[in-house]
Amino acid sequence: MPVNEEARVGFYICHCGHNIANMVDVTAVAEYAAKLPNVVLSRDYKYMCSDPGQEMIAKDVEVFKLNRIVVASCSPLLHENTFRTATSKAGINQFYFQMVNIRENASWVHEDKEMATLKAKDLVRAAISRVVFHKALEKKKVPVNPDVLIVGGGISGISAALTIANAGKKVYLVEKEPTIGGYMAKFDKTFPTLDCAACILTPKMSAVLKHPGITLLSYSEVSAVDGYVGNYHVKVTRKPRYIIEEKCVGCFACIDACIFKEAKFSDEFNEGLSKRKPVYIPFPQATPQVVLIDDKTCIHFKTGKCPQTCAKACDRNAFDFDQKPVVQELEVGTILLCTGFQPFDAARAPYYGYGRYSNVYTSLEVERLVNASGPTGGHVVLRDKSKPKSIGIIHCVGSRDEKTNKWCSRVCCMYSLKLAHLLKEHTDAEIYNFYIDMRTPGKGYEEFYDKLLNEGVHFIRGRVAEVSDWAINDHEKGKLVIRVEDTLIGMVRRIPVDMVVLAVGIEPGKDAQDIRRMFNISCSNEGFFLERHPKLAPVETFTDGIYIAGACQGPRDIPDSVAQAGAAAAQALALIDSGFVELEPNTAFITEELCCGCQVCINMCPYHAITFDDGKGKSHINEALCKGCGTCVAACGSGAITQNLFEDQQILSEIYGLLVE
């Protein structure tokens, strides 16, 4: 085993209660470690991360003159910082510390105590063998730019923006749609209190617009992100509205003047249930109150032969048909991603007939139908203008299904109950809810379910197999027949209805993967953004300074999204107010004396941190730009590049230690 005469290693193994001790014989490992070269002291302790555990290290350093610390416990991703701080407090450089992961990497994943203990011994040996070659390093402190970027102007982004701006920080809120508000703006009422979505959301939307600390970049998308925590450099592409935003007051004169007398094009905000013109504003309370032109349907853009009646109608000269996408550059210190979700596409569940039978609706369409400002003015009528007398609401559409999305979308039970209530109120129809399990875990949610049970709404426990127009008697004729097993009775039922509502689930936005790559964060298996820790760091990501909130992290209702937005805002503010960030000193440097100037390393670096000095004929690494991947190190034929914390000798000693007793 490699030896460094001066190294005096203190070794500690943590029981982690029973988490480690149950599967790894910690005493045996401690005894084993005591006999290894350079080890002066070896101890096992119930909870190393506790205060007494950390104080023990400090005391031992003093008494035993330790100058290297190795702790075998959980993952370094969880507690490396804790123990580095403890090492530092004990008076030795924090990088004279090495952590051994015997919990996530051993005790939690194995079933054979003997083998797990053997593995732990190998890992401990490797760490001790490595730590003797550690060097003292200093973390670099970098100031944090106090400005914040928030991506996504749904309820999460809006809440976070207001919180941060109210703390006196500058916020850039980027929204890809022409207006903020997100999905919440489309809802009629919100469960379980049934308060009007618009009434609680629109004041927040206008607060965003009015807030001096918030710069709203609507109809814009982030196109590039560079830099690191505290110092991000962001490019935002502002899509052309063909209207000069500052000039437009939202008087709608242009819309009235459009050459299309009748609205002809599918209105996205109303889920296609109504029509709009090429020049339009998404909905009356759109924020900002600025119209835009859809260049795919506008005659001017299609043929160039439009008399431009809209522009002529504008007395503020707000029209600019030559607008091009503009890239705006921002410098921010932290970023909040609140990019939301997309509803499950009901056409992916063909057995429910969406798109085939006109009376099959998605829940979002029904939200618009029951909405007083919706396409029918709040009258629930079918596409043939008739009023439904019976309505079936099918839960879990696209959710809890291996063929589509495996997860429970969390909100559908509750919004289905809400829609059942609203539909009952609007139509007095017979309403059937088809559910697999009724999930109402929230404040006032179960009470809402109770209320519905007593409102005369029918509840049938069973997953609907099919919606079809196959009638087997006159009663079913002309209706949509829902085939389902009433599992509580154990019989198959055929229920004819006039209207079917598909409670579509929540899935990751279709650009989630692009966003993830751009911001260098991870996604969980299902495609939602991955949090740093499911319990302890739910709004942080593995990339420092980037936080997530709302349904981009997983299915989530409004109260939870708002709460999470607050949490993310608090995390960002905490970072900003600390004033600076400490960077891991795992950067690489070139020993100039050895560099031959072959320039193989230069292309290895994705951050252009390596440059070639023509005068000297040597390459040079700009430490500020280096992010510490180490790829250049492995490329250097001269061995002239060293990566701090991951030096060749350290890794080779670790390998040796792992394998050789």
Binding site: C396, R400, R463, R483, G490, V492
Partner: protein, 194 residues
């Protein structure tokens, strides 16, 4: 154990005692059906509603799954439910948990035959077994021989109902006694008997 209390209680149709269950039944069937995930069933009943035959079954397919994993072996095998499965795979393609229910039904049929627990003189297993031995014997199916043997085993009088159809088909040369068969039946049999 107090035998009399037990007897009194189990006379009810809605009572099942733990001691009367076959606790390994679920595992056995899951293994037989290629590790089928029947323990992952959430009892949503989609299979029952999708099944074109469930209306004639004693238990719905969903209930069969629940009974299998709980160990109601006797109940599941002794009635005609599993034999009514026509292998149309509608349940399998629709199951949200990806359970290959048709394969579970096959496994139950095999289990029933192995344990000799199935409804007496029930035609479906008889046809299956006749078919099975016909193929094993000759390598191919001749419908005349298949049906004749089936009715001989099942109920010869039932055959009469089909006589006129048979004659008509025969006249149309859609049934034949002399269809070309396999040439090396012996080798085929010995392959299977390995």
């Amino acid at each position: 154990m107090n035998a009399s209390s037990s007897e009194i209680l189990t006379q009810g149709l809605t009572v099942k005692l733990e001691a009367d269950l076959d606790k390994n039944f679920g595992e056995t069937i899951a293994r037989e059906a290629h590790g089928e995930k029947l323990f992952g069933c959430i009892q949503c009943g989609n299979c029952s509603a999708a099944c074109p035959l469930s209306v004639w079954m004693d238990y719905t397919p969903r209930k069969v799954i629940a009974m299998v994993r709980a160990g109601f072996k006797q109940e599941v095998l002794s009635n005609r439910t599993v034999w009514l499965c026509a292998s149309c795979y509608q349940c399998t393609v629709e199951c949200p948990k990806g359970i290959k229910i048709t394969d579970v039904m096959y496994a139950l049929k095999r289990e029933a035959i192995e344990n000799k627990i199935y409804p007496k003189n029930f035609p479906v297993p008889i046809l299956a077994r006749t078919f099975y031995s016909e193929v094993k014997r000759t390598g191919r199916i001749n419908e005349i021989f298949l049906l004749t043997n089936y009715y001989l085993r099942y109920n010869i009088f039932k055959m009469l109902g089909y006589a006129s159809l048979g004659v008509r088909l025969f006249m149309k040369r859609r049934l034949s006694l002399f269809e070309k068969g396999m040439t090396n039946r012996k080798e085929f049999r010995s392959m299977l008997n390995q």
